[in-house]
């Protein structure tokens, strides 16, 4: 049995940042199932990381390396090639690696398992099941890490940042990208990426379109695409068959919460991630979470920053513990899809950052945070879009001074 103050599960940017913070004052272990630290970053060889933290844009591997170096310097106990199999409510962890089965007892645990990709089955695309269909992240790993080309004539479904970046990646590799198809009437990713990844390479973006059939017996031989109406249902007569040998699905990420569910942590139906408070503590005392297990982030810098909070939270917990009594619920209001943290527990943090996304794009809005009686915070914003996470940082005293039981965040347009 290994005894530790804090065990961190997952060694991506979230796990590393939280571990670094926690190791300032505690004995920490990181458990990572890959052979190296960095999570998803080592395969993200494009730049666009670190704009906030380093004030310049670096690649994924560079971003990761910065933290890996620090972890090495601090001599944090890192176990790679180690998969966590289970965690129980007494914070006993069972993990497995080629050296044996580890049993670890920790005073606090930080979950940082990241997310996984939605598959063609979860969005119910009909058709056959040939070779040549990959999720974008898998394709990215295949090309950038394994040096294998998933296909030569490619259709990409989904225009989130991951889909856009993969379109460019395929084009750079000399594959033919027939187009990017997006079921919504607007692109899912950043405008910057639409320009830099598609327009610069002459790759067409088909909005309000989706793939309605997959064909091919052994290897994919084509997909059928169709336009969709306002209800996102395919329009009869608009079908078009596209011969291709590769379909890339960039249709969303889902927080990886199999372990969390086994412990019985509360999950948010909106984010599909674990519910956390302002100190990133979950519904079980002493178990914390950060990064993409909480909600899917578009920018890694936000992951790092919020993960430090989890590290801090865990440190505070092992020093004095928190009772889970008085809670303030944070409710997504008008045009708000979700908010993290979902609850506040009046912990001693000076500042609280709310992360949230809107349901639909709107211009000239005001963001309002209110309790049962008053608006306690207001900010103007020129544009809000579903693809960009909004952050609002406020002084916790603004909230704690009140006897609120509930807070609401609304995004209200000027009619």
């Amino acid at each position: 049995m290994i005894e530790k103050d804090i065990a961190v599960i997952g060694g991506g940017p979230a796990g590393m940042a939280s571990a670094l913070k926690a190791s300032e004052n505690a004995d920490v272990i990181i458990l990572e199932r890959n052979e190296e630290l960095g999570g998803i970053l080592p395969q993200c060889i494009h730049d666009g990381f670190g704009n906030f933290i380093f004030n310049r844009s670096v690649t994924g591997p560079e971003y990761a390396q910065h933290f890996i170096n620090e972890i090495e310097e601090k001599e944090v106990d890192v176990r790679t090639d180690t998969t966590v199999l289970s965690i129980d409510e007494n914070k006993k962890i069972i993990a497995s690696n080629p050296d044996g089965i580890l049993e670890i007892k920790a005073k606090a645990i930080i979950l940082a398992m990241g997310c996984r990709e939605r598959t063609r089955n979860q969005i119910l695309i009909p058709g056959t099941r040939p070779a040549g269909i990959y999720t974008a992240g898998t394709a990215q790993r295949l090309i950038n890490v394994e040096a294998l080309m998933p296909g030569k004539r490619v259709v990409i479904l989904g225009s989130g940042d991951v889909g856009l970046i993969m379109a460019r990646r395929f084009a750079l590799e000399g594959a033919y990208v027939e187009g990017v198809y997006e079921i919504m009437p607007f692109p899912g990713g950043l405008i910057r990426n639409v320009v830099q990844c598609l327009e610069d390479y002459g790759i067409p973006l088909h909005l309000s379109h989706t793939v309605i059939n997959i064909s091919g017996r052994k290897r994919l031989d084509g997909v059928t695409v169709a336009r969709v109406d306002e209800k996102l249902k395919p329009v009869k007569g608009s079908e078009r068959f596209i011969p291709c040998d590769c379909l890339i699905l960039a249709v969303g990420l889902i927080p990886e919460n199999e372990l969390s569910k086994k412990i019985g942590l509360d999950i948010d139906k909106r984010t599909l991630g674990v519910i956390v408070d302002e100190g990133m503590e979950t519904s079980v005392p002493g178990i914390f979470a950060c990064g993409n297990v909480v909600h899917v982030h578009d920018i890694v810098d936000d992951v790092t920053i919020s993960a430090e909070r989890a590290g801090e939270g865990a440190l505070k917990y092992i020093r004095k513990g928190y009772a889970h009594n008085e809670e303030i619920r944070v409710i997504p209001g008008k045009n708000v899809r979700y908010v993290v943290p979902q609850i506040l527990r009046r912990k001693d943090f000076d500042k609280i950052t709310f992360y949230f996304r809107v349901v639909k794009e709107e211009k000239n809005v005001s963001i309002k945070i209110s309790d049962e009686n008053d608006v306690i915070f207001e900010r103007r914003e020129r544009v809000v879009t579903p693809s960009e996470m909004i952050k609002v940082e406020i002084h916790s005293s603004l909230i704690y001074e009140r006897s609120a039981k509930q807070l609401r965040i609304d995004v209200i347009g000027d009619e």
Partner: protein, 594 residues
């Protein structure tokens, strides 16, 4: 005596012909010519639509006394398959050649390996269990759902009882999870009858008929009232009226069973030739002489035709086609293991009028803890049509959802289709050919072919004996399959011991199903080696979980490559032409520069 039999046969042929002509006329099939020989109906001529082709086949198949229907009727757009060329080189000699390594062929091979015989099992795919056997619902039916008096029912009832022993011998999963056959408000909703009457029928008459049927077949079943049902299955619809509980209904894993059968057969001396397609059969003096394949020919005295969907084409090669296979697709949706505790038994409900030759499907447990909904039943033109259509997905999600109103239907992890090898007589066709000695038909093995497979194998052995195959039992037959290790099923102490013995057990490759690297390496070097990603998946479940291989695929590819020396870019998903990759990175750029 002989004359008497011939006389009777001729008589019945005449009768059948008369009836068939009448049926054809009545339904407007004037351009269809009908011949009857030895109670097999031969149809030729032309119709306008594929649907008509099916219709005339089914109509004649239903005539009493008909053994088989060979439907050679043409219709516009009918596809003709080109037969591959054979190679004229002798590659073997055997007492018995079995064609097709599905569950049926493998079971027969294993059964025959109990005797001192030289047996060759041929399979065109690169692995066993690649046909219908890999895509079914894994139910070990009791036989209650089959038409009374059919061969498939008889063999199913018998086969079901043999599953305890075979699963123990071969170390494969088999669970008697039990089945609830329900009547609900939907059962008679297609009829305009007062609700007190339909209620009465659902509550008393239907369970009574089912239980009586069970008694006749020796299948124990009991009636369960609504209250008890809701206790047994708290998530069940409140619209349930009554039900019958069949506690011995089972589930298994069809590919693990088939792989274990094949491995055990090989262990006991059977030669399994994969990647070997039968393209012709030589007949001399009314007796089979050899089997021609794309790799060479094999001399033999007996051929067992268990080629599934292609059994009719194989029979044709020997000139003894007595049936036409008309493929019927079935699609199934599989849900996340997270939903596995939602029900405690497999569940089906009766709906009238019933779709012909269709047990109706249901919501079924699997041995791995997933739940499946389905299957559908759809006639398809193409034997390889395993596409799942939008209509099917919609139908399945709608048709069964009233049974479990709050089931999390968004937890789909996969859907797939399998194709049933049905004949127009809609029954198994298992007999020795009378025209060509040594040719044994094992055709039309639609559902419940899996459940019936042990009994089919036994029957085929008996037929071979009757046909003059000299059979002497081996003294050293080893009936036991080896224990396949599934890391996820072990407790922590067992896991510790394993990792100590072999470090690769400690490295988890498939995170969703908790499959270790050692299991994958073991599959690659198994008695029947797995070289493709799907072959590994069938043996270990790697890639069968909720991420569907998104995470483990690159790892599995590199393990296969490391263990076999196949370059990673050449690794396939499931056999020939299913290449996973288009080449190495940068290869297209190099092409352009050349």
């Amino acid at each position: 005596m002989w004359c008497g039999i011939l006389e009777r046969k001729k008589l019945s042929d005449k009768k059948i012909l008369k009836k068939a002509v009448k049926v054809a006329k009545k339904n407007g099939f004037d351009n269809v010519e009908i011949k009857v020989e030895d109670r097999v109906v031969y149809l030729t001529g032309r119709v306008n639509l594929w649907e008509d082709f099916l219709k005339i086949g089914s109509l004649t198949g239903k005539i009493k006394g008909v053994r088989g229907v060979v439907n050679n009727v043409d219709y516009p757009g009918k596809k003709r398959r080109e037969r591959k060329k054979g190679r004229n080189e002798k590659i073997g000699e055997a007492d018995v050649v079995i064609i097709g390594a599905g569950v049926v062929g493998c079971f027969i091979a294993r059964e025959l390996s109990k005797y001192n015989l030289k047996i060759i099992l041929l399979e065109k795919a690169e692995d066993v269990a690649c046909g219908t056997t890999k895509a079914n619902n894994a139910m070990v039916h009791t036989g209650i759902g089959e038409k009374m008096g059919t061969l498939k029912q008889k063999l199913c009832v018998k086969g079901h009882k043999m599953f305890d022993k075979i699963s123990q011998e071969l170390n494969i999963p088999y669970k008697k999870c039990g089945m609830l056959i329900l009547t609900t408000k939907e059962t008679l909703s297609n009829y305009k009858i007062p609700s007190f009457i339909s209620n009465f029928i659902c509550r008393f008459i239907i369970p009574f008929i089912l239980i009586r049927r069970g008694k006749k077949l020796g299948i124990f079943m009991e009636k369960i009232g609504r209250k008890k049902l809701l206790e047994k299955e708290p998530n069940l619809t409140r619209d349930v009226i009554s039900g019958v509980y069949s506690p011995t209904y089972g589930i298994t894993c069809p590919y693990l069973l088939t792989i274990a059968l094949a491995e055990n057969a090989v262990e006991n001396g059977v030669d399994l030739l994969l990647n070997t397609e039968v393209v012709g059969i030589d007949v001399e003096n009314g007796r089979v002489k050899s089997v021609l394949t794309d790799r060479g020919f094999i001399k033999t005295n007996f051929i067992v035709n268990s080629a599934g969907l292609y059994a009719d084409e194989i029979a044709e090669m020997a000139g003894v086609r007595e049936y036409t296979i008309h493929p019927k697709k079935g699609s199934t949706i599989i849900f996340d293991k997270e939903t596995g505790n939602y029900i405690n038994h497999s569940i089906t409900f009766l709906k009238f009028p019933r779709v012909e030759h269709y047990k109706g499907g249901g919501i079924m447990l699997t041995v791995d803890g997933n739940i499946q909904w389905g299957p559908t039943i759809v006639e398809v033109e193409d034997k390889e049509d395993t596409s799942v259509t939008a209509e099917e997905i919609e139908h399945i999600l709608k048709y069964y959802s009233h049974l479990l109103p709050n089931f999390p239907k968004n937890k789909v992890i996969a859907y797939f289709a399998g194709v049933r090898a049905s004949t127009f007589t809609e029954d198994f066709f298992i007999e020795a050919s009378k025209k060509v000695k040594g040719f044994i038909h094992v055709a039309g093995i639609q559902s419940p072919g899996l459940a019936a497979s042990p009994a089919i194998a036994e029957m085929v052995v008996r037929i071979l004996k009757n046909e003059g195959l000299f059979m002497k039992r081996k003294k050293n037959f080893n009936p036991y399959g080896r224990q396949r290790i599934h890391f996820r099923e072990l407790n922590i102490e067992e896991k510790k011991r394993l990792v100590e013995k072999n470090a690769l057990y400690g490295r988890i490759v498939c995170r969703c199903e908790e499959v270790s690297e050692a299991e994958i390496v073991d599959a690659i070097h198994g008695k029947i080696p797995a070289f493709s990603v799907d072959a590994i998946k069938r043996r270990t479940r790697a890639g069968m979980g909720r991420c569907q291989g998104a995470f483990c695929l690159p790892r599995i590819v590199s393990i296969i490559s490391r263990e076999t020396g196949i370059p990673p870019e050449k690794i396939v998903k499931d056999g020939k032409d299913s290449n996973l990759f288009a080449g190495r990175a940068k290869c297209f750029l190099e092409e352009k520069n050349d």
